[in-house]
C-alpha cells in the first residue's frame, strides 16, 4: 500500500533558510545545504524547497543553488518559488527537481499548468495553494507569498487545477503556518474531498498527533511540516514511528 509521506519544508530567502509565523516574522534557521545533507542521512520521504523571496522580488528561481542542493539530495525534491514559464519548469527538472511547485503564476496564467503537464507529465506539476481565512472564516486563495488575495475559493481553484492537469496540490493555511496549533482540518477535508489528485497538507503542525489528526480525518496523502523540525526535538523518523503505532501506513 501507498505510505503517507512526512515532508519537511525548507523555506529559502536571500542566502539561507528561514521560518516564520503566518508567512511573516521570518527567523533564520540555518544553511540550506546543511539541512539537505541531514535530511538525506535521515532518509526522509521527500523534501519541499520553496524560495519565498523569488516571486515578491520578481526573480527567476535560483537554479545554481538548487543544482548544488539536488546533487546532495538522494530523495525526492519538490522545488518552488518564482516559477513562471515552461523554461523555468524545464530548467528546474534539469538541475534535479523531481516536481515543480507553482503558485502565483498558476493564478495569473492557468495555461502554464496545462502546458507544463503536456510537456513534462502531470506527475511533476504541483500547484501550491495558500489559503487565508477572511470574513466569517471564509477561505480565500492567496498569492505572492500570502500577500495578495486572488478572489478565488480554494476548493473551486483546486478542482480547476486538477482539470488543467496538475498532479498534486500543496495546500497551506497561511494563518496556521508557524503557529504549531494543528492543521486546518476543515480546509484539508474540503479540498481532498473535491479532487482525486494527491494533496499535501501544510501549515500548523506542532506535534505528531497533529499529523495523525489530519491523516485520519481527511484524505490527505502527505503532511508537510517545518517549525516542529526547526524549533523542537521532534524528527520525521519519530513522527513515522508515532503514526505507525496509531495505525497509519508509513515507510519505516
Amino acid at each position: 500500500m501507498l505510505k503517507a509521506r512526512i515532508i519537511p519544508t525548507l523555506l529559502f530567502k536571500d542566502v539561507g533558510l528561514v521560518k516564520g509565523v503566518s508567512f511573516d516574522s521570518w527567523r533564520r534557521v540555518g544553511a540550506a545545504m546543511q539541512s539537505v545533507r541531514v535530511y538525506n542521512l535521515r532518509e526522509v520521504d521527500e523534501l519541499v524547497f520553496l524560495d519565498i523571496a523569488a516571486t515578491p522580488s520578481g526573480q527567476r528561481p535560483n537554479f545554481h543553488e538548487i543544482d548544488d542542493l539536488a546533487d546532495n539530495c538522494f530523495m525526492p525534491m519538490t522545488v518552488g518559488g518564482g516559477v513562471k514559464t515552461i523554461e523555468d519548469i524545464r530548467d528546474l527538472l534539469a538541475v534535479g527537481a523531481d516536481k515543480v511547485a507553482i503558485n502565483t503564476a498558476a493564478i495569473d496564467t492557468p495555461e502554464l499548468i496545462r502546458d507544463g503537464a503536456r510537456e513534462f507529465g502531470s506527475q511533476c506539476i504541483v500547484i501550491s495553494i495558500d489559503v487565508r481565512r477572511g470574513e466569517g472564516g471564509k477561505p480565500e486563495t492567496a498569492t505572492h507569498c500570502g500577500r495578495q488575495l486572488a478572489g478565488r475559493d480554494p476548493v473551486e481553484w483546486a478542482k480547476q487545477v486538477e482539470h488543467l492537469g496538475a498532479g498534486e496540490i500543496l495546500l497551506t493555511s497561511v494563518e496556521r503556518d508557524g503557529a504549531m496549533q494543528g492543521y486546518d482540518i476543515d480546509l484539508v477535508r474540503d479540498v481532498t474531498a473535491a479532487v482525486n489528485i494527491p494533496v499535501i497538507a501544510s501549515g500548523g503542525c506542532g506535534n505528531y498527533a497533529h499529523m495523525a489528526e489530519v491523516l485520519t480525518q481527511t484524505r490527505a496523502s502527505a503532511v508537510a511540516a517545518a517549525s516542529i523540525f526547526h524549533f523542537t526535538e521532534q524528527t520525521p523518523r519519530e513522527a513515522k514511528k508515532f503514526l505507525a503505532a496509531n495505525g497509519i501506513r508509513v515507510r519505516l
Partner: protein, 213 residues
C-alpha cells in the same frame, strides 16, 4: 566498482543529474550524459531515466537519432539496459500519453502498452505519488539484497500493461496492481516504474545490482 562507460540518455525532459550522481555513488566509474547517438553506440551500459510525456520523449529520441542507436545496442545480448519511470514506459511497444490520434510507437524492447492508471476507490489518487512496495517476481537478480516488499519511490500516472508475463520482475498493489519492474529473460534488459535514484537504500542496491550485470 563497475568499469566501462555507462551512458545516461538525455532526451531533454528529465532530471538527469540525480541518476548520474546515484550511479556514481553506486560505483559506476565512467558515467556520461549524452544526446549523441555515437556515445550510445560505444556504451557498455545504457540508462534511460524518467520524467516527461511519452509522446514528447519519443519525438526527441527520434529527432536526435537516439532511437536507432538504442534499439541497435539493446538488440545485442551484451549491453545491459535500464529504463526508469518514463524510461521504462518508453521500452514498451506503444503508449497513449500525449496523443489524441491513437497509441504512439515506443522502443519496442518489451511487448506491452502504456496506459493510464485507473483509480479503484476514492482513497487511491492519480498520479500515484510516494513510497510503495514492490513484490518481486521471477529471478532477475534486480532485487538481490533488498528486503521482500521493500518500498520504492513512485511518481507517475501511466503504467505498462505487459503482454509477456514472463518479463514481470516486480508488482505493486495499487490501482488493481500493476507491473512496477520488468526484466527480460533472454537479455540484460530491465525497467523500473519507480525511481531507483530517489529510493535511497533500496534504490541504490538495485542500481548496484544493475551495474553488476
Amino acid at each position: 566498482m563497475a568499469a566501462g562507460l555507462t551512458v545516461v540518455v538525455d532526451y531533454g525532459l528529465c532530471n538527469i543529474d540525480s541518476m548520474i550522481r546515484a550511479l556514481e555513488e553506486c560505483g559506476a566509474t565512467q558515467v556520461e550524459r549524452t544526446r549523441d547517438p555515437r556515445q550510445v553506440d560505444r556504451a557498455d551500459r545504457i540508462v534511460l531515466p524518467g520524467v516527461g510525456n511519452f509522446a514528447a520523449a519519443m519525438r526527441n529520441l527520434k529527432d536526435w537519432g537516439l532511437l536507432t542507436s538504442i534499439k541497435a545496442r539493446s538488440a545485442s545480448r551484451e549491453v545491459p539496459f535500464l529504463g526508469a519511470c518514463l524510461g521504462m514506459q518508453l521500452m514498451a511497444t506503444s503508449g497513449e500519453e500525449g496523443s489524441t490520434a491513437g497509441p504512439i510507437e515506443g522502443l519496442g524492447l518489451v511487448d506491452g502498452e502504456v496506459v493510464k492508471l485507473q483509480q479503484q476507490n476514492a482513497d487511491e489518487r492519480i498520479p500515484h505519488i510516494g513510497w510503495n512496495e514492490v513484490a518481486r517476481k521471477g529471478h532477475s537478480g534486480l532485487f538481490d539484497g533488498i528486503p521482500e516488499a521493500g518500498d520504492f519511490y513512485f511518481v507517475h500516472s501511466y503504467h505498462m500493461k505487459l503482454r509477456t508475463e514472463s518479463a514481470e520482475a516486480g508488482r505493486t498493489p495499487v490501482c488493481g496492481g500493476f507491473t512496477s519492474a520488468i526484466a527480460l529473460t533472454d537479455k540484460p534488459i530491465f525497467g523500473t516504474q519507480f525511481h531507483p535514484e530517489k529510493s535511497q537504500k533500496n534504490g541504490f542496491q538495485l542500481l548496484r545490482n544493475f551495474l553488476a550485470v
